[in-house]
């Protein structure tokens, strides 16, 4: 069986098994086993992919399979992965694995929780392996919807409102995407012949420029909303703040990446001319995103808000780098997606664990936690360091690749904005250290916190998985970076064919 089909099937089967479990213990065990198998399958996929590339398989996509679904509209189940998709799948597997363990103690409607969570993940897998715009869109929307219940039922704070805001804003985004992909579809055969949703096939022709100009903003902004593109990012702080731990992890860690991934795989890859022409607008927006998100984070006092704004900033960097449209910067963008995915998941996991102990997320009410919960505190610090770009952790690799890549741009404008964007590393340091300083260091603020328990085994498992991943990328980035770059070549080549305006 095709490994990619397996990737989607495992979570589906897991859901079924979870549905038949009796109590919360069974449900979480089943989920953990399922996601564990998924993780193994992912590792297998990565190895198989690398092996296949090594043996010289030069196709853009590997492990492709193609089933006709709606013949009359030329809709297929077309699957396949390149290095980028493999990397994103890897990210997803790690985050969900950690996410399951981060919600180990959840006992309210556990079965439903895990089913929704795994449904969401299934959709994410589907999205990343899709080569057909239709199925891609299908999985995209599918990924958004369990979110409402996940936040609304298991969340905290003004959860209904946040869940609603998040769902609606993202669905509005998908409205734009819908227009975008329909536009692509109807322009996919300018020379006559059958229309197609297939990304690879569309990428072989060039969409008429007028159509590109019209549809590019739709597709780009549509995906951009999920990628927290300024000024459409406001769902993110509320949504993440209200979501339960695993959902925040998954949403910020993986789902937001759907946005960035879609931005380049659909909008930019398929409409290169328009992308070139309009890049500057979005570059300005993302520049604002990066700096603005970081500045906003400084002022926040809710841990999740801090992290959400930090995500705005980091995800802004993703799209920023994509728009630079050279190999290095885009490589950086993908690395940043993965890196941000891992570390933000780690952050949210930790925030959830801390919240579970102190019952507050307000940093003003906590302090000196290093003393009482050293394990969590140290891991939090590691996450913080990853976030502010400490070498040896993934954030550094990603950010540097972005900056170097962006700065190689021949245009002065691009270099100037790169400098502005690079300044975010200082602002990031400010808020990360502020949090670390207030939350973990210093004297213990609230005496009630004096006898908190440090991490349990499942919490350790959850966080250590993520830390290892973060560190692995940070220490040995070359294989990942090379894999991504190899897959980026056709995309960049297509973007570069166009002479910039």
């Amino acid at each position: 069986m095709n490994i990619l089909t397996l990737l989607v099937l495992i979570p589906v089967l897991t859901m079924v098994v979870v549905l038949f479990t009796k109590d919360y213990k069974g449900a979480r065990l089943a989920s953990a086993i399922g996601m564990g198998i998924e993780l193994i399958a992912t590792v297998y996929l990565v190895l198989a992919y690398l092996a296949a590339r090594k043996t010289g398989m030069m196709h853009e996509m590997l492990f492709t399979s193609d089933f006709m679904w709606y013949p009359s509209l030329n809709i297929h189940f077309a699957f396949g992965v390149d290095g980028i998709a493999v990397a994103m799948i890897g990210l997803t597997s790690i985050v969900i694995f950690a996410g399951i363990f981060a919600s180990w103690e959840l006992q309210f409607l556990t079965k439903e929780f895990f089913v929704s969570l795994i449904l969401l993940v299934t959709a994410v897998y589907g999205f990343f392996i899709s080569l057909d715009l239709f199925t891609m869109f299908l999985f995209y929307e599918l990924a958004l919807i369990p979110m409402y219940l996940l936040i609304g039922l298991w969340g905290t704070g003004p959860k209904e409102k946040s869940a609603m805001k998040l769902t609606l804003m993202l669905m509005a985004g998908s409205a734009l995407i819908m227009v975008g992909i329909l536009g692509l579809y109807y322009n996919s055969a300018p020379g006559g012949g059958p229309l197609t949703f297939n990304i690879i096939e569309i990428s072989k022709i060039s969409i008429p420029v007028a159509a590109q100009r019209f549809f590019f903003p739709f597709a780009f902004v549509g995906f951009g909303i999920l990628g927290a593109l300024f000024p459409f990012h406001t769902w993110s702080p509320d949504g993440h703040a209200s979501a339960p731990t695993a959902v925040s992890m998954l949403h910020a860690g993986v789902l937001m990446k759907l946005g960035g991934y879609g931005c380049f795989r659909v909008a930019m890859f398929l409409m290169p001319q328009a992308a070139q022409e309009m890049a500057w607008i979005f570059i300005i927006l993302t520049t604002i995103s990066v700096v603005y998100g970081a500045f906003s984070a400084i002022w926040q006092t809710d841990l999740k808000f801090i992290n959400a704004y930090s995500s705005v900033s980091h995800c802004g960097l993703v799209i920023f780098a994509l728009l630079m449209m050279n190999e290095t910067a885009m490589d950086g963008a993908i690395l940043q997606m993965i890196s941000h995915g891992l570390m933000t998941a780690l952050f949210f996991a930790l925030i959830g664990m801390i919240y579970g102990r102190t019952h507050t997320r307000d940093i003003r009410q906590m302090g000196g936690l290093m003393k009482v919960i050293p394990f969590l505190a140290v891991v939090y610090m590691i996450a913080g360091f990853a976030s502010l770009g400490l070498p040896g952790l993934s954030g550094f690799v990603a950010e540097m690749t972005v900056f170097v890549g962006s700065f190689q741009h021949q245009d002065m404008f691009h270099r100037v904005v790169t400098v502005i964007v690079a300044s975010s590393i200082v602002i990031t340091a400010v808020y990360i250290l502020k949090v670390v300083g207030v939350l973990l260091l210093g004297p213990l603020k609230d005496q009630h916190h004096a006898d908190l328990e440090d991490a349990k085994w499942y919490e350790k498992l959850s966080t250590v998985t993520l830390v290892l991943a973060v560190a692995a990328i940070g220490i040995a980035p070359l294989w990942l970076s090379d894999t991504i770059v190899a897959s980026l070549k056709p995309i960049v080549a297509r973007l570069a064919m166009v002479i910039p305006f």
Partner: protein, 637 residues
């Protein structure tokens, strides 16, 4: 390939120590970590010495070769922009290896005694190892990006060590400040690297510093805001260096960094990390000198100003570690200045050589001073000079070694500081009379404040100590003694032959025109301190009063901390971050929510349409039909 492959272990050992103590340390008795770390460091030290010996005293007929015993690709950006991890051996890096491992080893050893019984002993050793690893990685970097990577790691280890007493708010604040200020400077460094790599397409020091290289071909035509690209690049890189080396105005973190344990101050904030900036400039020296002379000017002036500025402040401080910290600043200013006034090649490169020389000697005696100070603090449990006095009786070894260090830094002849400082003054005299004058004065000031410190602490009246101060244990005094010896004899190393700008040795003569006056002014400073502080007297207080505002300003470090606080707290937090956060919640988010609310409001507003009245419906029906018909017939056709 070249027989230097074992140098890998110099850097790997600390890394392994870090990982081992960091992950497993908590399960051991604390002392095991200390011993393990010290032994590991000792091994590294030995290896470094072997390396230095074989490098410097091996055959080098045509000057010293740059040797790269190990290199691997770490991350590839483009075809030519590749980050490699490797080891580069050339005179300055080998010298730095020796300096770092020596001081680090001493500090490891010293800390066994100093940190005895502290909570987090293992953590301390883990961080020390991490720091040493990073610092070593920095100096042996084969390319500027590798350097940047370790540069950042050094920064973070410094952060961790300053904040070692993490439950002390002041320590936390200091560590934060240190990190953020240096981070800000690193941004400059990073952008500098970006510009440099954009122009040259390479990170490799080998290619960048090769004399007469063609990679800057296109640089001349590039400029931004009227300043040439290379000047930008080098100035920005210098900003990075200035941050680490605490050059004015980025110096503010260093005095606060004294919140860390004293051995840390000795290792990081006196001997090794703070010279990273100097090292960076030295590493990039050919590029700066040939491609960005304007930047070199800046370096010279910044160095000069910092040394004067810091020396003036040092006079008024009474925290023993702070005095040393400002002294460090001042000395770092010296080194920077020396690089700023240096030429390239042979005699011309005197400043370069002098800078490295001073770096080396300074490392020894400043580490000694700090460790000595640590010994004192260990004895009296206070940092305040005025809590001390007459300690020479209680701490004989500390006293002697501290005196040697003070004499060395004051530039007393035949001690190492004399030689290196003298070379700097000579170099300055040749290139820039103004800077020479400044340094000349600073030499006097240095002698004065050091001896002010010395006399205050070891002479004068006894204070009321909680318990009788006693000499520190052997683990602490051995390093003191070793470093004292090093401080005395380091000046006799043939630096002019070993560490030069073009890697070719040259002969240099003692310039008595400079040496004699500088010795005199040094003695003047000592004499003045003798008069004022040997015995407790009212004179210093009166003098201080007579200077009035100027004294207060100096005492308060010219209010730079306050300015920074104002900029960060008020401007960044209150006037940028807060409005942005507000804007996000109340404008952007409110707008998005507003769309929803408006829809809902509209929904309520129009509910009257569905009045329940059949005839209203009928009217709507008819009116709708007619409107459609009207528009269809008269608009469409």
């Amino acid at each position: 390939m070249t027989g230097y492959t074992y140098t890998v272990f110099i850097i790997l050992i600390p890394l392994v120590m870090f990982l081992v103590t960091g992950l497993l340390g908590m399960k051991w008795k604390p002392i095991i970590s200390g011993l393990l770390g010290t032994i590991g460091m000792g091994t590294s030290w030995t290896l470094s010495l072997i390396t230095a010996a074989s490098y410097f005293f091996g055959h080098h007929a045509e000057g010293f070769q740059t040797i790269i015993p190990f290199e691997m690709k770490w991350l590839q950006f483009t075809d030519s922009l590749i980050i490699k991890m490797g080891i580069l051996l050339d005179p300055i890096s080998v010298m730095m290896l020796v300096v770092i491992t020596t001081i680090s080893f001493m500090v490891h050893l010293y800390s066994i005694g100093y940190m005895h019984g502290e909570v987090g002993f293992q953590r301390f050793y883990a961080f020390l190892s991490l720091f040493t690893f990073s610092m070593l990685g920095l100096v042996i970097a084969t390319n500027i990006f590798q350097m940047y990577i370790f540069w950042e790691l050094v920064g973070v280890s410094s952060f961790l060590l300053i904040g070692f007493y993490y439950q002390k708010p002041s320590a936390v604040a200091a560590s934060k400040k240190a990190f953020i200020v240096t981070r800000f400077a690193d941004l400059g460094f990073l952008i500098g690297i970006l510009i440099l790599s954009f122009i040259t397409g390479t990170f490799d020091f080998g290619k960048l510093t090769e004399p007469g290289t063609a990679i800057f071909g296109s640089a001349a035509s590039m400029s931004f805001m009227g300043i040439s690209a290379m000047t930008w690049a080098m100035t920005l890189i210098f900003i990075g260096g200035a941050g680490k080396s605490a050059m004015f105005p980025l110096h503010i973190w260093l005095p606060d960094a004294m919140e860390g344990p004293t051995p840390v101050s000795a290792l990081i904030h006196a001997a090794t990390m703070v010279v990273a900036g100097v090292f960076l400039v030295a590493r990039m020296f050919p590029v700066i000198h040939f491609q960005a002379p304007a930047a070199q000017e800046i370096i010279g002036y910044v160095g000069g100003f910092t040394s004067l500025f810091a020396a003036v402040i040092a006079i008024t401080q009474y925290d023993i570690k702070r005095v040393l910290a400002f002294s460090t600043l001042s000395q770092l200013g010296y080194m920077m200045l020396a690089l700023g006034v240096s030429g390239y090649g042979g005699e011309e490169g005197l400043g370069y050589m002098a800078s490295m020389f001073h770096l080396f000697t300074h490392a020894m005696f400043k580490a000694l001073l700090f460790l000595g100070a640590g010994s004192i603090i260990h004895a009296v449990h206070s940092n305040n000079m005025y809590d001390m006095g007459g300690l020479r009786k209680y701490l004989p070894i500390t006293h002697i070694t501290f005196l040697i260090a003070c004499l060395t830094i004051a530039g007393v002849p035949f001690l190492s500081g004399f030689f290196s400082k003298d070379e700097i003054l000579v170099a300055a005299l040749h290139h820039n009379k103004l800077l020479f004058a400044v340094e000349f004065i600073v030499a006097g000031l240095t002698a004065f404040y050091m001896f002010r410190l010395y006399f205050c602490v070891f002479w004068g009246k006894d204070r009321h100590y909680h318990h009788t101060p006693h000499e520190s244990p052997l683990t602490m005094t051995i390093p003191l003694m070793f470093l004292a010896v090093a401080s005395v004899f380091a000046g006799y190393l043939p630096f002019t032959e070993l560490v030069t700008s073009d890697k070719l040795g040259f002969e240099s003569e003692m310039n008595y025109m400079v040496a004699v006056p500088s010795v005199l002014i040094g003695l003047l400073g000592i004499g003045l301190a003798w008069i004022l502080y040997k015995k407790e007297s009212e004179v210093p207080a009166k003098l201080a009063k007579s200077w009035g505002i100027l004294y207060t300003a100096t005492y308060n470090k010219f209010y730079f901390d306050e300015i920074y606080l104002f900029v960060t707290r008020k401007i960044i937090f209150n006037y940028i971050s807060r409005p942005i956060a507000w804007f996000d919640r109340h404008i952007i988010d409110a707008f998005m929510v507003g769309i929803g609310l408006t829809t809902e409001k509209v929904s309520y507003k129009i509910k009257g349409m569905q009045s329940g009245q059949l005839q209203h419906y009928a009217f709507a029906f008819v009116a709708g039909t007619l409107a459609l018909a009207l528009s269809m017939i008269y608009l469409m056709m």
